[in-house]
């Protein structure tokens, strides 16, 4: 079955802006993502190395309670369900390893892992990611959000040169 077309960037942007505003009205803060992965890391740390995790100065605070019992967990679960509904209703659900035409499956997965590691490190250092700091901080007109966004785009362009052959 052929997929339904994407929304135009303008309409998708307006819809995303409305969803973001609704989130501010509901909760007093914006949308996020990386906070969930911090909590997930604390939870996994609690299974694998409970003493080490509890003694860690960064993750220790999370495991004093239930790390995953937080608004952000429900929000990320909701985002997964929303995207699932989008993919199925748009006939765009495809089990696959998505990669550039000249990229092998192995190299794609290695790059996905490296990219994830850099992103995990960066999100903790910046106290947020593209959604929590870039999008939500940007909407709140926070200086920090724009510092983040400028650096995000600069590094994206730079590193894209190095890896472009894997995507094209």
């Amino acid at each position: 079955m052929s997929p339904r077309p994407f929304w135009s960037p303008l309409w998708a942007g307006i819809a995303l802006g409305l969803a973001l505003f609704l989130t501010f009205v509901l909760t007093g803060h914006g949308l996020g993502s990386s906070g969930f992965f911090t909590r997930l890391t604390a939870e996994i740390g609690q299974w694998l190395a409970p003493e080490l995790t509890a003694a860690n100065r960064y993750l220790g605070d999370y495991v004093r309670g239930e790390p995953l019992q937080a608004w952000i967990t429900w929000e990320v679960l909701g985002a997964f369900i929303g995207a699932l509904v989008g993919a199925f209703s748009g006939r765009r659900f495809r089990p696959q390893v998505e990669r550039g035409p000249s990229s092998g499956m192995g190299s794609r997965l290695v790059l996905a892992l490296i990219g994830g590691i850099l992103t995990g490190l960066g999100a903790r250092l910046a106290r947020g990611c593209t959604s929590g700091l870039g999008l939500s901080g940007g909407a709140a007109l926070a200086v920090g959000g724009f510092v983040f966004l400028i650096c995000f785009f600069a590094a994206g362009f730079l590193f894209s040169f190095i890896v472009r052959r894997y995507w094209q």
Binding site: P3, W7, P9, L10, A12, L16, G17, L18, F21, F24, L26, T27, G28, L31, S33, F37, T41, I44, N56, R57, W71, T73, E75, G78, A79, G82, A83, A87, G90, R92, R94, Q96, E98, A112, I114, G115, I117, L118, T119, G120, G122, A123, L125, T130, S131, G134, A139, A140, L141, A142, V143, C151, F152, A155, G156, F157, L158, S160, V163, W167
Partner: protein, 201 residues
């Protein structure tokens, strides 16, 4: 001042997240080829969607304050830590170009059936664990150069909020024009039909 409702319950999270994920997927942001196309200048959707969303939400927040529905300082504005946020932004930009996702779009990618998105998530957990393990040596960088609490562009530039939003809208308009021109030149943007073969069983 009837807003915000400060509702951090399960339903509030599920609703906000549902809309977030549904819009991201429909924008095509589950696809790492489309997402990274931004940095090859072939596909400006990331810039266009993000910038539009920021302006729409900023405008509605400003209007809510103008109409007395929301108080000034009633919603969260992150305090800048200039160096840490700059370095973190660089790392996430690099991670996005290399790995094809950011945290939110990896959730969208996984929901569309992508195995590479799970691998990216495993990487994020490892990266977070590394940050925690190296928190001692990283702490100085993490806490360096804090700015004023909840500093906004209005505080920085000393001009009113509506003017900031107007300037951002003008920049977005220029970015849309430039982006569409470059997309045309580079043979982009990616359409759903380019990314999802119809004969897939």
């Amino acid at each position: 001042m009837i807003w915000p409702l400060y509702d951090s319950g399960v339903a509030s999270g599920l609703l906000a997240g549902f809309l977030f994920g549904f819009v991201l997927e429909n924008a095509g942001f589950g696809s790492p080829r489309k997402l990274t196309g931004q940095f090859r200048l072939e596909d400006w959707s990331v810039f266009k969607v993000m910038f539009t969303a920021v302006i729409v939400a900023a405008l509605l927040l400003w209007l809510s304050k103008q109409f007395g529905l929301m108080g000034a300082g009633s919603y969260y504005v992150p305090t800048p830590f200039y160096v840490a946020m700059a370095v973190g932004g660089l790392l996430i930009g690099a991670g996005f170009a290399i790995g094809g996702y950011c945290p939110g779009t990896s959730v969208t990618g996984l929901a569309g059936g992508r195995i590479d998105a799970i691998v990216f998530m495993v990487g994020m957990v490892l990266g977070t664990a590394l940050f925690a393990a190296w928190f001692g040596p990283l702490e100085e960088l993490y806490l360096a150069t804090p700015g004023p609490q909840g500093q906004t562009l209005m505080d920085l530039a000393g001009i009113p909020e509506w003017l900031i939003i107007l300037v951002l809208a003008a920049m977005a308009w220029g970015g849309f024009k430039l982006g569409s021109k470059l997309e045309q030149k580079m043979g982009g943007p990616y359409q759903a039909s380019d990314l999802y073969p119809a004969d897939n069983r």
